[in-house]
Amino acid sequence: MFGQAGPVDACTPFVTLASHLPALQVVVPLMAAPLCVLLRRGRLAWLVALIASLAVFATAIALLGRVQAEGSISYLLGSWAAPWGIEYRVDALNAPLLVLIGAMAALAVPYARVSVAHEIPEQQHYLFWATWLLCLTGLLGVTITGDAFNIFVFLEISSLSTYVLIALGRDRRALVAAYQYLIMGTIGATFIVIGIGLLYLTTGTLNIGDLAARIGDAGQLRAELAALAFLTVGLSLKLALFPLHLWLPNAYAYAPSVAAAFLAATATKVAVYLLLRFGFTVFGSSRVFENLPLGQMLLALALAGVLVASTAAIFQENVKRMFAYSSVAQIGFIMLGVGMATPTGLTGGLVHVFNHALAKGAAFMLLGCVVLRLGPPTLERMAGLGRSMPFTAAGLVIAGLSLIGAPGTVGFVSKWYLVLAALERGWWWLALLILLGSLLSVVYVWRVVETCYFREPKTPAREAPMSMLVCAWVLVAGCVYFGLDSSLTLGAASAAAQSLLEALR
């Protein structure tokens, strides 16, 4: 009985690199991390991280290309057949997310050379890069794996390394923020394990595809509903859904600039992906969305998040903290799309995952430039930035416009779809509230614009170095480019939304 579950086709004669891309996606950064520790030299470790990140980006693009050409890829780790062994699965939903993580990594590393040298003590550089690569490994692993328990393991790899990255911030409050995040994050992760455990108890499987099939048979057991509840709460903690967002503002505000930029663009997005994976792929066929008010609950919390966090952002003096609160609000917009659970709504939510990553990644990278020249980015210090650091200030304005959702930037595309989805369902009030949320973001972005352009500079500052500006401006240019030509992002998002909603029928 047990002997039969051995490796299948273990003696394939031609092992090509291309057939192992899904494994390499995770293995490359995983192996690069200890290499950084062994090298013990900051410069060399940076080089290793750069090569690994570029390799990750290239792998992700190759995988996306294959998924779009041939459909989902299933990769059996160690050639153990799927329900027994761990399966890596790349489909229309997670392939674009892998590209997003890869792109952010490939931009963050060249950006970070100067920023890290400035913000982190020399002797800790190699450890920073090792931790950073582990974080990347975890995020990629969570996204690519098709095994529920493996998701937990990778989630904890990324979370533990995230706590370390945040604690490396220069401000001593970074330590308290990291501790708080550790407590909240571990509670979230433990809830996720309980959920996965209950699913395993009722179905006897951990494979995502297998879970989906067996839950469909079993009907509505109470343990399954409890599993869904634990998973939803745990993942909401990880993705910072209001009111479980309390760890986020301080964590992003006091983390090293490059860590804040990378995490804001990817970490919460991966948690959103997991919620979609469990909510739609696993539970989709068991009709949870019809029998439970899950959609309405997500909508209510998302709306509250948009309004409360945007208002809180208005009153922040530290601009990094302001944008961190804005992240909570933007996650609210993403969850609005998820809660509506219609093709248009989901497309809007998914495209906003990408668009918000671009805008917020750019904003935090540019704030890193401010940190480099002026210290902690408070509004007071940033007065007259438009004159002293013109490129940084201009980039911040465009990223800010994108957060508002001004036409011509990426934010407009996703907000347009969200409003459209609300109107499709006949919810005028929701459309109006989305506009109200955007108006609140006008207020806080205006505060930044006003200080940068309409005040006299207090402290003289030079423009940030080229390596940082170029990386940040690639993202800023992305904000405009994908705002004007949205066919690529919308195509991927609507394909992913379709694949999710198929499970519901």
Binding site: F2, F152, V153, E156, A167, R173, Y179, I183, V193, E317
Partner: protein, 118 residues
């Protein structure tokens, strides 16, 4: 009967709620971590309990043994224990650093110290 039959789950749930309560109610950073440890450990019990089958042995194929306990939950929980140890170690390391930076590990005193920093 049913109540006694599920005693392992009752205990696990009791530990779960107790751990979570300690995390929320205590202001001392080390005590919070103790609560977190109890909270995580309770989940190990939830996983391990159903893997046990009365009269079952370790899943080694041999003459005379026909019932086996499910080994998978044990393996999963070994991984979870490793994660738990790592979390606890990192948490304690952070507490040491916080103590160095602030001179206290009480949450309310920490908040007071940073109240007027920019």
């Amino acid at each position: 009967m049913n109540l006694l039959g599920n005693v392992n789950y009752w205990m696990a749930m009791f530990l779960l709620v107790m751990g979570l309560y300690i995390v929320i109610a205590r202001g001392n950073l080390v005590k919070k971590l103790i609560g977190l440890g109890i909270f995580q450990t309770s989940v190990y019990l939830i996983y391990i309990s159903p893997g046990k089958i009365f009269g079952g042995t370790a899943p080694i194929i041999a003459e005379g043994f026909r019932t086996y306990s499910n080994p998978l939950p044990h393996v999963l929980i070994l991984t979870a224990i490793v994660v738990g140890v790592a979390t606890l170690a990192l948490g304690l390391a952070l507490v040491v650093r916080i103590h160095e930076a602030y001179g206290t590990i009480e949450e309310d005193e920490l908040q007071l110290q940073d109240i007027d920093a920019p």
